[in-house]
Subunit: 462 residues, 2 copies
């Protein structure tokens, strides 16, 4: 037991033995000193604290009297098991919130990935390499936009797969879309935002937290309401055109063109394009990113590795148009880099060796297979279900069509121990009583698909 | 060459051949298509875009005419070297800002570490382990406060080395002090802050960025002005009591007690204790953290691994008092975790195997040695220099005492190519014309100490 924990303050009037008593008691109550741990001997402690042995004896006696410690003859003092003490000030700490998650039996969780196909061996290799002796420069703090090598790889990837035109200099690497949006709101200070309803909650939460003014723009079955964007006429619009979150609507070329036209009419206007899960497009011709259609520098492209690598890697990126890059570079009051350099190195090497592309191609097949199985099975029950937004990504919208009310559906889902969120959960302004759910399938192991589907069918059968 | 980059919009009136021309031209100008790259054949591209070969021919011809591409007989079309073209719209991107840093010959940089003693081998081992097949759960997003194992190790470390009383449940892991402070300001919404002057700029910048009201409290040679804290009477005070940044003043026990007494008088009052470099205390009895003196739950303890591991690891932590933990747990609108789980695992294992303590003990000797050499040499020139704030950490204050003005000193430093910041750089409210510098020594390799010291002496000799 370290003796540093005993803090004696000679400048206050409380007697030292009482301070010591209080100190040890609190440590026991807080569990920082644990059952059966041995206390320092009176001699040791009196020497360490430069107080008399009598002082220590007073304190220990008081603790013995109250049952916090025990004296064992010829051995010393030990912490008692305080669970059975009649009165302690044991503080009730809330339990860790994520622990509840595992209670669900069937999990259609958004943002979960198929872990069984993760290229652990390759990441192991590159992670190891990042701590090679000749990579010692990775211990320096590095560029605030992120490592150049990783930015170069990202630039190549988004150019070839999404048609995004940029140079590595325009890329900022961050921990998440949320964190990058926070930086964007600092660059675009004083701007007002238009955001989709329904929406990825973190985006709305971030704006709210930063007291950034915003307005919701409704998303209907054809996508975001462009007319209302034009009418509202705030500076910045945040959208997910390739697979609207969570409805899954894909914005058509006509609306894309209208939106870019709108943005190009004023220098203060910007479009934030969140391309969060476009890696996994299963059918139809790929639609290039909105950014690739924009010649006027009005689109800020944002994406993440949360789906394509893992949610735990905490790497996302934003592509700034030239004008915003200049503002960013000039501003000294911008948050610094948050991604560990060894993580950046590991990911950059994984990409530069061509493994990222291969990984995506492999995972696309795996997710398509999961999606196909679920949809095929659910389509056998056309009276109960209809499906939409399934062309891209790792979730789609499941509508319950047999006349059950939303409330009834939500109740049934809880009863069956199914983790699935109603679409209404992501709506803020529009009132929604349609029994629709956002079904995430990325994290369901192949061998559990059948029982998950069966649970859904059972759940919603009248 | 991927064909996705060719974006044709059939909904606008611009002819397709012109769209294609503009598209390819922009790609060449932006360097996304590079010199000598081959264009798709007319046949391929017409097939891919479902347009006639004549359309492609029109576009290619136009590009040839303007010199963007070249036709090589029996081979096809290639991107020309556009450097010599008379007119291009080549955009001038600002150069990467960090590139300038290496221009300095002598670097007394703050926040730099001695890289030559980094335990690469151990980090390599644990990083490798983090990608073991049985660690696959690390691919899940994890707890928003950070991995429990790492929090447990941090709890043990700060308890034994700094006397901080807490449970792992009270710890939040983040990327940096700056990022954790951002979370704290969201938890303590509506609070007004008192911060030190001089101060670590990121702290002041963060508050400014988030429009959080704050007031500067002067730090003098005895530390922060407690009387002014009591007079100002805002809710939260942010301090660096163990080694004030940047002055290096250590807050004495009397002031600590006064401050805790002040905080304990109202439930809205909190002290944020930033214990950023207390690992490296070279002499004198260690003063336990302020948090350890506090029985009333008014102290929020914050620290970082930037100095003890490396600035590039991007891991810091905050210890919330019970009351704030409850608020944090209840609030849904708080930023999620930003530290990659493999990094958390690697660091946690490094700590749990006892290497962190050994590493600190080794590094303490190394930094003490650097400090001792610099101070010993500078003390040979008592007419030129005086030194303060050198008991802890990786920097101290160097005062030039031979009558040179601050302006003169700054000019000389620039002339000599020395990277050292005047103390005035960290002051906001107090006007300061004393020729004082903040000398960081952590990053100077042992073999360069001599020439660095020599440069300083030469620089300030009249």
């Amino acid at each position: 037991m370290e003796m540093l924990m005993f803090n004696i303050n000679r400048d206050i009037s409380t007697p030292i033995y009482l301070q010591l008593y209080e100190n040890i008691k609190q440590n026991i109550i807080n569990n920082t000193m644990q059952h059966n741990e041995k206390l320092p001997s009176k001699r040791q402690l009196s020497h360490y604290l430069s107080v008399s042995q009598t002082t220590i004896e007073h304190a220990y006696q008081l603790l013995c009297d109250e049952g916090y410690i025990l004296s064992r003859s010829r051995s010393g003092f030990y912490i008692n098991d305080i669970v059975n003490l009649p009165v302690t000030y044991k503080t009730q700490l809330p339990t860790e919130s994520d622990e509840n998650e595992s209670l669900y039996q069937y999990r259609f969780k958004l943002g979960a990935i198929d872990k069984s196909h993760f290229p652990n061996d390759l990441f192991r290799k590159y992670a190891k390499e990042s701590f090679d002796d000749h990579q010692i420069c990775l211990l320096d703090s590095g560029h605030k936009q992120g490592d150049y090598n990783l930015r170069k790889e990202i630039r190549n990837y988004i150019f070839h797969s999404r048609g995004v035109n940029c140079l590595p200099q325009q890329i900022i690497i961050g921990s998440s879309t949320e964190q990058l949006l926070s930086i964007l709101t600092d660059i675009l200070s004083d701007a007002k935002y238009m955001i989709e309803d329904p929406i990825y909650k973190q985006v709305r939460n971030l704006l709210k937290r930063k007291h950034v003014p915003f307005e919701f723009i409704p998303v209907n079955s054809n996508g975001i309401d462009i007319e209302q964007i034009i009418r509202t006429d705030f500076d910045v619009v945040y959208i997910t055109p390739s697979h609207q979150f969570p409805t899954g609507v894909i914005m058509d070329l006509k609306r894309r063109t209208q939106l870019i036209k709108w943005a190009s009419e004023k220098n203060s206007r910007y479009i934030i394009e969140d391309d969060y899960d476009s890696e996994f497009r299963y059918s139809g011709r790929p639609i290039p990113a909105l950014q690739s259609l924009d010649n006027t520098g009005r689109v800020i492209y944002v994406s993440t590795f949360s789906k394509s690598i893992s949610p735990s890697i905490r790497v996302a990126y934003a592509v700034l148009p030239q004008e915003l890059l200049s503002i960013y570079r000039k501003k000294t009051n911008i948050e610094g880099g948050t991604v560990p350099r060894h993580t950046q190195y590991t990911l950059g090497r994984f990409m530069s060796d061509g493994h990222f592309e291969r990984h995506l191609n492999r995972m696309r097949k795996i997710y398509r297979n999961k999606r196909d199985i679920i949809i095929r099975e659910l389509k056998k029950y056309p009276d109960i279900f209809s499906i939409s937004g399934e062309l891209t990504g790792m979730h789609f919208i499941l509508t319950v069509t047999n006349g059950l009310s939303l409330e009834d559906c939500v109740h049934r889902v809880e009863q069956m121990n199914i983790d699935i969120k109603p679409l209404a959960h992501y709506r803020f302004k529009q009132n929604d009583h349609i029994p629709q759910f956002v079904l995430g399938f990325g994290g369901i192991p192949d061998e559990d698909l059948e029982n998950h589907i069966h649970a859904l069918i059972q759940c919603f059968t009248k």
